[in-house]
């Protein structure tokens, strides 16, 4: 990512595959279901039906950098992110969750889902630490694979979205990011 931006590099970028050539919705759903069973609980189900996200949402994501570069983003209502965090913490969940608990737990789910998606993509690739906040913008609608699910009756989306073309840095979408 820090190498000199030569014409050769640009031509190489142009030849990059888009995510829909590399993975499909069913694979993403299967990966998410496996993560849910392991982290959230054996009886936890993700139902693949589209549903409207509420107004107050929170995202967690990891970046994948390699032959395909982009982000794996989980987005759900803030209250659902808190419920998910409680489900992960189980008996050790405090009565009142703070932002750090939610960032830790919701970020870890993105980390596990993102790591499995990265393993299903061409490598070698790097995986970033998870971030929580306002999701990175979708740069290219053609380089996007999104799965809408419902967990415990609440909507949640899993978006695998390309990072090209680049946006100016810093991006407004990350202003409210919570460092982990």
């Amino acid at each position: 990512m820090t190498s000199t931006d030569t014409g050769q590099r640009r031509r190489g970028s142009d030849a990059r595959p888009v995510i829909t050539e590399l993975i499909d919705e069913m694979t993403i759903l299967a990966i998410a279901e496996e993560a849910w069973v392991s982290l959230v609980g054996e009886d936890e189900v993700l139902v693949p039906i589209p549903s409207e996200l509420p107004g107050d949402i929170l995202s967690s994501w990891v970046d994948v950098v390699g032959p395909w570069t982009g982000s794996v983003v989980l987005t759900t209502g803030r209250a659902t992110a808190e419920e998910l965090s409680r489900a992960l913490l189980r008996e050790s969940a405090p009565e009142l969750l703070d932002d750090e608990d939610v960032a830790d737990a919701f970020g870890e789910i993105a980390n596990v889902v993102g790591g499995s998606i990265k393993a299903a993509l061409p490598g070698p690739s790097g995986l970033s630490l998870p971030q929580v906040g306002n999701a990175p913008l979708v740069r290219n609608a053609g380089d996007l694979c999104r799965v809408d699910v419902v967990w415990r009756g609440e909507p949640l989306t899993i978006s695998v979205q390309g990072a090209l073309p680049p946006l100016p840095v810093p991006t407004p979408s990350r202003e409210n990011e919570v460092p982990l």
Partner: protein, 120 residues
């Protein structure tokens, strides 16, 4: 037996401890470290019998911790518990001296499969 669990996520450390218990390894001392540098220091101070470490962590990654341990002469048994489960990461882990790599998401069966024979 003393087991050092290194992960920058407090939630994941708790899940690893819970899974160890569910897998039947419930009679061991647990020490926690919040990154590779903390793990490296605690291998020295706590003398664990086994290290279970995440890969991607701030300050010092799990693989950097393992390399630093081996460079210092420590032969402490070391395994990864990480979302980095690709073949190239497994090869890197093995080449650095890791005994095993458990990919997240895991189950208690995955733990038993890798830890039987490692944990007494």
């Amino acid at each position: 037996m003393k087991i050092l669990i290194a992960d920058d996520s407090r939630v994941m450390r708790q899940i690893v401890i819970r899974t160890l218990r569910q897998a039947g390894y419930d009679d061991h001392d647990i020490v926690e470290a919040e990154d590779g540098a903390d793990a490296l220091a605690k291998v020295g101070s706590e003398q664990p019998d086994l290290v279970l470490s995440d890969w991607n962590m701030p300050n010092m990654s799990g693989i950097e911790c393992l390399q630093a341990l081996r460079a210092s002469g420590s032969a402490v048994p070391f395994g990864f518990v990480t979302s980095e489960g690709s073949p190239e990461m497994r090869e890197k882990a093995s080449n650095a001296g890791a005994l095993f790599l458990i990919a997240k998401p895991f189950t208690e069966d995955t733990f038993r499969e890798h830890l039987d024979g490692v944990i007494a």
